[in-house]
C-alpha cells in the first residue's frame, strides 16, 4: 500500500510453482483442475502507458474517468476473483468481493499515491483488507461496520527506503531459495499463518520462521542494491 514506484512484473519473473516440496505428500497442487493454479501472466498487460495502471487510478481521482475505471476493472477484478477463489471463497462471494474491491478503488482513488505504491500492490491491500473485514463481520454479526485497521501511512522518505519497482521485486522473489519462496507463496495463497504453514509442511515452527526471516532479509538486500547489479 505504501510501496513506491512499482510497475507490473515482467513476464517470466514469477516462478509458477515451488520447485520442490519440503516433504513428500505436501498439499501444494499446481494442477489446473482445482482452480488454485498460479500461472505466469505472460502477455504484456494492456493499458501499459507510462506509469502502468497507476495513471488510470490517477485519472479516476482527478476527473472521475469511467473509461479508466473500466480498464482497471477488466484487468484487476478477474484477478482479485482468482485470488479469493484460491483462498476458498465461493464463486458468488469472490465475485462480489472483487466488485467491492474495485469500487473501493473508485472511492479511494484520491488517496492513491503512485510515488508510494504500485497499482497492483494497492489493489492487493484493498482486497486483503475487505477479506479480513468480511471475516470479522461474519464472526461477529453484531459489528456495525467494517473497520479500517491499517496503520498510518509512513512518510514518503520512509516508504522510498523500502520499495523498488515490481519487476525487481519479482526478480528478487525468483532468486530466493525454493524453500523460502515456498513459505511466502503458502502465506499469500493458502490463507495460513506461519504456524499452520509449519504444521502443514511438517516443519518445526522455528524452521518456517527462519525461512521467512531469511527471505525478508534477502529481499531487502537485493532491493537495496543499485539497479544495475540487482
Amino acid at each position: 500500500m505504501h510501496v513506491a514506484r512499482l510497475s507490473p512484473p515482467k513476464s517470466g519473473a514469477w516462478p509458477s510453482r515451488p520447485s520442490r516440496l519440503s516433504r513428500p505428500g505436501a498439499t501444494w497442487r499446481p494442477d489446473a483442475t482445482d482452480g488454485r493454479r498460479v500461472s505466469l501472466h505472460q502477455d504484456p498487460s494492456p493499458c501499459q502507458g507510462p506509469g502502468g495502471f497507476s495513471h488510470l487510478i490517477t485519472a479516476i481521482a482527478e476527473r472521475g474517468d469511467r473509461d479508466a475505471f473500466a480498464s482497471l476493472f477488466q484487468h484487476f477484478a478477474p484477478r482479485v476473483k482468482s485470488y479469493l477463489l484460491r483462498l476458498g471463497a465461493s464463486s458468488e462471494a469472490a465475485e462480489e468481493l472483487a466488485q467491492e474491491t474495485l469500487l473501493t478503488v473508485w472511492r479511494r482513488a484520491a488517496s492513491f499515491d503512485p510515488a508510494l505504491s504500485a497499482a497492483s500492490t494497492w489493489i492487493f491491500t484493498i482486497a486483503r483488507n475487505l477479506r479480513v473485514d468480511l471475516a470479522r463481520r461474519e464472526m461477529r454479526a453484531a459489528a456495525p461496520r467494517p473497520v479500517e485497521v491499517s496503520p498510518p501511512e509512513p512518510g514518503p522518505d520512509q516508504a522510498l527506503g523500502a520499495v523498488q519497482d515490481q519487476a525487481r521485486i519479482a526478480k528478487a522473489m525468483g532468486e530466493l531459495p525454493a524453500e523460502q519462496a515456498e513459505v511466502i507463496r503458502e502465506a499469500f495463497f493458502a490463507d495460513k499463518p506461519h504456524s499452520e504453514i509449519a504444521r502443514d509442511l511438517g516443519l518445526p515452527l522455528g524452521t518456517v520462521k527462519s525461512r521467512m526471516r531469511l527471505a525478508l532479509i534477502r529481499l531487502r538486500a537485493r532491493l537495496a542494491e543499485p539497479e544495475d547489479s540487482a
Binding site: V3, P78, R79, A98, Q99, T121, M139, V163, Q166
Partner: protein, 213 residues
C-alpha cells in the same frame, strides 16, 4: 521513539498476507504505526502480494459485472464517521482500539484494569491492560499464543523491560507476571489465542475481577 522489540518477520508476513485475524491485526498494526522499519518489511511483503495478484490467471466475472460496478460508481459514498484519536499520552492506536477506549467498560482490580477491544474467533481476544506504577498482574500462564504492544509507560517481563511501541510475542506456553516499572503506569494492547491460567490464589481472585473467567 526508541522501539527495540519487534514482531518476527513471520508475523509481518502473516499481517501482509491477511492470514492474521482481525483481533490479532490490531496489535501488529499498533506497532507498525510507530516502527518504520517493520512497516517497510510489511510493505515489501505487500508488494510481493501485489505481484502475485497481478500474475494470477484471471477468472472471468459475470458478463454484466462491469456494468453493475459502473452503475454503483454513481452513488455517493456514505460519509464515514471521523476516526477517534487515542489518548494523548499513548502511542497512536488503530481506530477500533480508540473506540474501545471510549466505549468499553473498564473492569478493575487492585493495581490493574482491563478493557475488552475485540473477541474471537473462539477464545481469542484482544484487550487493553492497564497496570499502576510498580504494580502488575499476578503470575499466570498462557496455553497458546500471546502478542503484546506497549501503548504507554513500560513494564518488566522477566529480565526484559518493554517501553512504548515495543512488541513481544510468545508462541506457546509461557508463565510470567508482567509488572509496570516504578516510574509510571503502563498500558498495553494484548492479543491472546487461548485462556489465561492463574498460577496462585491471588490470580484466582484478581483475574475474574478483570473479566478473565
Amino acid at each position: 521513539m526508541n522501539v527495540q522489540h519487534h514482531p518476527t518477520e513471520a508475523r509481518l508476513l502473516d499481517y501482509a498476507s491477511g492470514a492474521l485475524s482481525g483481533a490479532a491485526r490490531l496489535v501488529v498494526a499498533a506497532h507498525l504505526g510507530v516502527c518504520p522499519d517493520c512497516a517497510r518489511g510489511v510493505h515489501l511483503f505487500e508488494a510481493v502480494g501485489g505481484g502475485m495478484l497481478d500474475a494470477l490467471t484471471p477468472s472471468p466475472l459475470a458478463p454484466d459485472a462491469l456494468a453493475h460496478a459502473l452503475a454503483r460508481t454513481e452513488r455517493p459514498s456514505a460519509a464515514s464517521d471521523p476516526l477517534p484519536p487515542g489518548p494523548e499520552d499513548w502511542i497512536a492506536i488503530p481506530p477500533l482500539v480508540a473506540r474501545a477506549v471510549r466505549a468499553a467498560p473498564r473492569r478493575r482490580a487492585p493495581g490493574a484494569w482491563m478493557q475488552a477491544v475485540s473477541h474471537g474467533p473462539g477464545p481469542a481476544r484482544c484487550y487493553l491492560l492497564g497496570m499502576a506504577a510498580g504494580r502488575g498482574v499476578p503470575p499466570h500462564s498462557h496455553r497458546a499464543g500471546e502478542m503484546t504492544v506497549v501503548l504507554k509507560g513500560a513494564f518488566r517481563d522477566g529480565d526484559v523491560i518493554l517501553g512504548p511501541g515495543d512488541f513481544s510475542e510468545h508462541d506457546g506456553e509461557v508463565s510470567h507476571a508482567p509488572q509496570a516499572t516504578a516510574d509510571g503506569d503502563c498500558v498495553c494492547l494484548i492479543y491472546t489465542d487461548g485462556p489465561l491460567v492463574p498460577a496462585d490464589w491471588i490470580g484466582r481472585i484478581v483475574f475474574p475481577l478483570l473479566g478473565f473467567g
